[in-house]
């Protein structure tokens, strides 16, 4: 059984295979792992089972179409899928537009450094571990915040999670992108 750490890095490989080879087997593996999680997320956010199933298929199809835009030096695959599912929830369940920041485009010419990618994926893994070790009550609160069960005024930042290092990692990746863009 591969460690969870290797698993995160593998998912990056899956996205790459989808991007470069249109690899349906890689897509199927990602689907089997993530689709039931996305569906649970959408149900908990207020969708009925049929709507959640339909939206999940949309989310996974989006992942296929946007595979070339995933930047593994800035996010884990789980985080990227989370943001796609969250945006879909805002569209469909909250019926609002989501204003998005200006893009920092990156393409093959800015292929991120492999060491940065591995470091980012390991950070994400560490964060997952830290969350798993939180007391049940705090973990529930976090889940409720991200599953859209708390209003924006009820949400307060959690402490004690290793977010500083992730922030610094992303900051570094952004600096490199800005530099590459001249």
């Amino acid at each position: 059984m591969p460690s969870a750490e290797t698993m995160e890095e593998n998912w990056v490989g899956h996205i790459r295979r989808i991007h470069h080879d249109k690899d349906e087997a890689a897509f199927a593996e990602l689907f089997r792992h993530f689709a039931p999680r996305v569906k649970a997320f959408l149900i908990r956010s207020g969708a009925d089972a049929a709507l959640a199933e339909e939206c999940t298929q949309d989310v996974m199809a989006t992942l296929w179409r946007k595979a070339h835009m995933f930047d593994p030096s800035r996010a884990s695959v789980a985080t990227w899928i989370y943001t796609i599912a969250r945006n879909r929830r805002i569209d469909v369940l909250r019926r609002q537009r989501r204003p998005e920041p200006e893009d920092l485009p990156w393409g093959p010419e800015h292929e991120p450094d492999q060491a940065d990618v591995i470091a980012m994926q390991q950070e994400a893994e560490r964060l997952g571990q830290a969350i798993a070790e939180l007391p049940q009550k705090q973990r529930d609160l976090l889940a409720r915040a991200f599953y859209g069960e708390l209003s924006h005024s009820e949400i307060a930042a959690e402490t004690g999670l290793p977010l500083g290092t992730i922030k610094s990692r992303i900051r570094l990746a952004l600096d490199r992108l800005r530099h590459a863009m001249g």
């Binding site: 199927a28 997320f41 989501r98 204003p99 964060l127 859209g148 708390l150 930042a157 952004l174």
Partner: protein
Amino acid sequence: MTATMGTIRHHLTDETLLAYSAGTLPEAFALVAASHLSLCDECRARLGAFEAVGGATLTSVGTAEMGDASLERTLAMIRGTPGDPDPAPRRSAGTLPIPLSDYVGGDVDAIRWRPVGGGVRQMVLKTGDEATARLLYIPAGEAVPEHTHGGMELTMVLSGAFSDEVDRFGPGDVETADPTIQHQPIAEPGAPCICLAATDSRLRFRSWIPRLLGPIIGI
């Protein structure tokens, strides 16, 4: 003068970024957040950290079984479809960050200002009705009438600068005001101040004249 990376001193709060990353921020506030994030890599990185928590939560909390044919159906959706084209770089050449110019329909010269008294002008932007977003034009040296808030107010400076009881706010800076803050922003002399303000309930003006006007001008 427009904001440049590194000159921003007042950032989005953790609470705002967390709510934006969770997708629970009303659209008007999300517009301020996206506008600031367009100019501020520091907040962009902090947002990325909060989103990482969202991603980790997705992997650790529960699953719901997908229908038998769901994978086949999704494969049918994607088979033969090309990837989305690379998005055109969305980087503003004007004064307004792109998420904001999307709502205005252009840059500063496309803003349809309406007078609200005292030389102050506004344009209310169309967003979901949980909160209201408006652009404000404050002539150099002039003040926005003193007010308190029933709820939260986020104000981002787009050009010029204002000062209030809290501090000075320049291009790109965001002031986060809660119901306890009573303030009177005054535009700096020399240039008008243009800002984007989002509120989640009607502002309450302190003196009686603007209070009567409040419901009419919608500020």
